[in-house]
């Protein structure tokens, strides 16, 4: 089994680095691909590709790099392989990113648009449901995404979904998982991670699994508290 980490020199915010390292332990081979390199999944068998959060100013540079491989990305997704995208990097895969009077063309792999306002940051908690599992996570973003209705990922229970009125968070198509839930969200959602790894035939236990579950359950209890307003105070 092979995992490819894309552009970690830029896409590494909010716990992504460790998240990638943690995930890599489940794989036999790990490819780390820099901005100047050709991604391995273009020409080789790769089972899992991970693209993490980046500073908003670098989104355009990453889109320019990945646009060259748009067909290969579409084929990779069609072939049912896992592509995990966290945080604002999800925006790369939409139609456009609109920032005041500026518009950046995305890869147009999925049919949605991003509205970004640097004067408005959403710092939120999120509780949702996916395949019967409760998903917990944190979000911190300047963006909302609109018009995506075809490929919902997580059904919202509480907190901010794709936009202020949306009922779903992120995008899931085949094994493409795109979510604004940040960095260590696989570490903090052990049941989901086990399920995801199972699709690759990886059935071994998570490291210190009982503690991972205890920590998850404690967070789930916090998030489920009716008094929790899902707003981060910072």
């Amino acid at each position: 089994m092979k995992i490819e980490i894309l552009y970690p020199e830029l896409c590494n915010l909010y716990g992504d680095n460790f998240h990638q390292r943690y995930l890599s332990n489940f794989f036999d081979e790990v490819y780390v691909t820099s901005l100047k390199d050709t991604p391995k999944f273009v020409s080789e068998q790769v089972d899992f590709v991970y693209l993490g959060s980046c500073a908003d100013k670098y989104l355009e540079a990453i889109i320019l790099k990945l646009r060259v491989y748009k067909k290969e990305i579409e084929k990779y997704i069609r072939d049912d392989k896992i592509f995990l995208v966290t945080g604002n990097s999800l925006e790369i895969f939409g139609n456009t990113i609109n920032i005041l009077d500026k518009q950046i063309e995305g890869l147009k792999i999925f049919n949605f648009r991003t509205e970004k306002d640097f004067n408005k940051r959403y710092n939120q908690l999120f509780l949702g449901e996916y395949h019967g599992y409760k998903i917990v996570g944190h979000k911190s973003q300047f963006s909302l995404i609109f018009e995506e209705q075809e490929y919902p990922f997580i059904k919202k229970i509480k907190g901010l979904a794709n936009n202020l009125t949306a009922t779903n968070e992120g995008i899931k198509y085949k094994n493409f998982y795109g979510t604004y839930l940040l960095g260590p969200f696989l570490i903090t959602n052990p049941y989901f991670l086990k399920d995801l790894l199972k699709t690759l035939g990886i059935t071994k236990s998570l490291p210190f699994e009982s503690i991972a579950i205890k920590s998850y359950e404690k967070r789930l209890e916090d998030f489920s508290n009716p008094l929790n307003n899902m707003i981060s105070k910072h």
């Binding site: 020199e9 830029l10 590494n12 915010l13 909010y14 716990g15 680095n17 460790f18 998240h19 390292r21 943690y22 820099s34 901005l35 100047k36 500073a55 908003d56 100013k57 670098y58 540079a61 640097f118 940051r121 710092n123 908690l125 944190h138 911190s140 300047f142 940040l182 960095g183 260590p184 570490i187 903090t188 490291p207 210190f208 503690i211 991972a212 205890k214 920590s215 404690k218 967070r219 916090d222 998030f223 008094l227 929790n228 307003n229 899902m230 707003i231 981060s232 105070k233 910072h234």
Partner: protein, 449 residues
């Protein structure tokens, strides 16, 4: 008219607080801004106005600089209690003018929140801006360092001379084309390496051409010496280069020796900045040395109590700030005796109707605590299982770790036997709580003896 009313009312308010001995309070500033939103622009500034900003070290640097300038006989106004928002700055500047808005001959030292610099710097028209460093910080407060950099750059005015850390290639780019810049740095240390030891490095690519950067050496995170092979981008040459001798506790700048007031690299940077700046103000090195002789760091941030053979040290760690946490862990890693560590780092405000984000635990280097001389790690607080999991993922022996859901239970888990030091690492808003834990440990020691 609004300004005059604001000034009179806020001065009166401040006077009352002074009588009550509660003057370290932002409320007079808040009142002034409420009456006159242009208060910061309209108030006359002191003869020399100095701003201090950056991710880590602002409060320590503000304290140290203020205290040394006072020792040098200057009249100084400053916001040394971390009041780095507009209201805190307004509160401070009220003291720099008389009731007729005539400037007093004083130095004004303002700690400035880095993420609001685009708004505050043009209003303040600083003479000097001292920048400690720029790192990733709380994702909620300061989305990412690139964002904060742009905020500071946008706020710069030509009048201001910048004092920048040359070892931080990220923040030392500020004002290069627009401002007079003076750089300070620390010469190569034995502990510098050419391999990244931290999980996080916010400067892996060249900010000009996006080429992957090569470090000649790394001190911590992205602090070090770097050069881009593609376009030549590199750290600036320091005007003030310090050599640090940690074993002798000395700092040498331009062949003059100064006492190192705390043997951690992060506090050494704060001190080097202050010494360099005082030298730039033409204060004699012999005087600076004299002022530093009996200088301590503020007790709110670092406090040491010794009882019999045991030292109990309370150290504040800025919440959600992985680099600050990692530098403290790195300091503990290099301790020379057997120690125990208590972690009480939860953010208490997030316990009320919310839940703390723990992303930063995965950016912080808990691996540094995996050392034989660190005999025990006691975690206290609601998020103790998150910390426990992170410590286990850092390969720390589970037998060394204890968890308590209540912070105040941690003191009863301490072993003390053959332990020389106990470190209590606490959130900056848990100062009194940490002191209570410390006092419980100390009274236990007294009881045993």
């Amino acid at each position: 008219m609004r300004f005059t009313i604001a000034l009179v009312a806020s001065k009166l308010y401040l006077q009352i607080l002074k009588i009550l001995k509660k003057e370290k309070d932002d409320r007079p500033g808040a009142l002034a801004l409420k009456i006159c939103p242009l208060f910061l622009e309209k108030i006359n500034k002191p003869k020399v106005l100095i701003g201090i900003t950056g991710t880590n070290g602002k409060t320590t640097t503000t304290n140290l600089l203020s205290e040394l300038l006072i020792k040098s006989g200057q009249k100084v106004i400053y916001n040394d209690w971390g009041a780095n928002t507009k209201r805190g700055m307004a509160r401070c500047l009220i003291e720099g003018v008389n009731i007729l808005n005539h400037s007093k001959k004083v130095y004004g030292i303002l700690e400035i929140d880095e993420v609001t610099c685009d708004e505050t710097l043009p209003k303040l028209q600083l003479d000097y801006l001292l920048v400690t460093n720029l790192f990733r910080d709380s994702m909620f407060r300061n989305p990412n360092p690139y964002y904060v950099y742009d905020k500071i750059e946008k706020g710069l005015t030509k009048k201001t001379t910048l004092f920048l850390n040359s070892d931080d290639a990220f923040s030392s780019r500020l004002g290069k084309k627009t401002n007079k810049c003076i750089y300070y740095g620390i010469d190569k240390l034995k502990s510098d390496t050419n391999i990244a030891k931290n999980i996080v490095n916010d400067m892996q690519v060249c900010p000009i051409c996006l080429e992957k950067l090569n470090y000649e050496y790394i001190r911590f995170n992205h602090i070090g010496k770097v050069k881009c092979k593609n376009c030549g981008f590199q750290n600036p040459e320091p005007n003030y280069l310090a050599k640090i001798n940690f074993s002798k506790k000395e700092i040498s700048i331009n062949n003059q020796i100064y006492p190192l007031i705390h043997d951690s690299i992060f506090n050494a940077y704060n001190e080097v900045l202050v010494i360099s700046f005082l030298l730039e103000l033409n204060i004699k090195s012999t005087k600076i040395k004299e002022y530093l002789e009996h200088q301590n760091l503020t007790k709110r941030r670092l406090d040491i109590v010794k009882n019999h053979d045991l030292e109990v040290i309370t150290m504040a760690c800025k919440g959600f700030n992985p680099v600050a946490l990692s530098t403290v862990f790195d300091y503990l890693k290099n301790e020379k005796c057997d120690i125990e560590v208590i972690l009480v780092l939860d953010d208490l405000s997030d316990r009320v109707n919310s839940s703390e984000a723990i992303n930063y635990l995965y950016d912080a280097d808990f691996e540094f605590l995996n050392e034989p001389h660190i005999k025990k790690i006691i975690i206290g607080g609601h998020r103790c299982y998150d910390y426990l999991y992170r410590l286990l993922l850092a390969d720390i022996d589970p037998k060394k770790i204890e968890t308590c859901e209540n912070e105040f239970d941690t003191s009863s888990k301490v072993d003390k036997k053959n332990i020389k030091k106990i470190y209590i690492l606490h959130d900056i808003y848990f100062v009194s709580g940490a002191k209570k834990i410390r006092d419980d440990i100390i009274s236990e020691v007294e009881h045993e003896n």
